[in-house]
Symmetry: C2
């Protein structure tokens, strides 16, 4: 049974997740993490080997569940479609709903996790490499579904459309509060239910405009 130090491990992971999300990898020290977790400083290195390994462990912990549930959702809607080809709106929802739902209702750990992913995603230091490492297979599976939903589309238009979609989604779960300021409180970045309502139609319309009607030329 590998359970003696498991509680400590999880406490360190929780604190690391929270603090990395707030200030980024370089903005947080091992001492801050272990102090927040109320464990000895040396335990972070004992359990994870190095600060960098701890960072990877934080990312990996929730990535697996996330990839699993998103894939299941995609397969589900494809199975429900009579011809096996899911609708654009359903694909977009299957891609984004598991994320927004966990950020909204999964507890503070999930919220921190997504805030961290949002930072990593837009940084040249981690963006290309880490995101590819953790999420590439799943994204490729979704892009295949998108291609089937838009059989006439040119490949580049699919990729750019996905890119726009991805940017909109990532900024959403970054939850920086910027839109709260801009709208003078009329809209709240934490209202992810409002996003779940609006993202599929918005993004699907963009996809169709770009991928169905000859795209950029019109």
């Amino acid at each position: 049974m590998a359970k003696r130090g498991e509680k400590t491990r999880q406490k360190i992971l929780d604190s690391a997740e929270k603090l990395f999300a707030k200030r980024g990898y370089h903005g947080v020290t091992i001492r801050q993490i272990t102090e927040d977790a109320k464990v000895d400083t040396a335990l972070a290195n004992y359990h994870f080997g190095s600060k960098r390994n701890l960072f990877d462990a934080v990312l990996l912990r929730r990535a697996e569940e996330l990839n699993k549930v998103r894939l299941e959702k995609l397969e589900e809607i494809e199975a429900a479609a009579e011809n096996g080809v899911a609708s654009l709106e359903d694909i977009i929802d299957a891609f984004s709903h598991p994320l927004l739902d966990r950020s909204e209702r999964g507890g503070p750990g999930w919220k921190s996790y997504f805030a961290l992913i949002a930072q990593i995603n837009n940084s040249p230091e981690w963006g290309g490499k880490l995101m590819t490492e953790y999420f590439d297979p799943l994204v490729r599976r979704f892009i295949a579904a998108l291609k089937r939903a838009l059989p006439e589309a040119r490949e580049e238009d699919i990729y750019w459309s996905y890119h726009f979609f991805s940017g909109a989604l990532v900024l959403t779960y970054a939850e920086t509060g910027r839109i709260d300021n801009l709208s003078d409180g009329k809209v709240h970045s934490s209202d992810l239910d409002a996003v779940q309502l609006r993202m599929p139609p918005f993004i699907a319309a963009g996809f169709r405009r770009l991928c169905e009607t000859g795209g950029a030329k019109n």
Copy 2:
């Protein structure tokens, strides 16, 4: 004449911009910056007071030009429209083109600057506060134009649509190379001309779907 130390100041700003863009505020040291700029370590503090002030100076240097040219472009297209109401596509282009154009053709300094903005934008540490500080007045002006272009829209739909637009744009000039990986080289994140062609139709279609046709309910 305030020019004796100006060359040094600019060299420090250039190196700071480059390195902050690569590794973020906390991931860069004053020593790395001054070494890259080939000036003495103490000069960063002499000219800028503190590391944090240097960071702000980097952000401010190009923000002013950026806000100026984007506002001019918006006023230009509004003046050209017969009723003073610019088209959705034109507004979107006026908002994004000055950024993408400078990132593509403005030299490495501009490219670094946008990469830095992309990181800041998605981080809770800086995102809400700094972006608001440097870009709020301009964005509010654009949102006013969007409201005129979509007179029947509900305000929340405008804000959320702008939010999606903003996320797509920011990820674009982050240029993390992720889409290069995903597309196996069929699409390049550095090909901002391809984005300029596709972003206005994609985003405009999303706006219309959300803001014209009753939005989320359909």
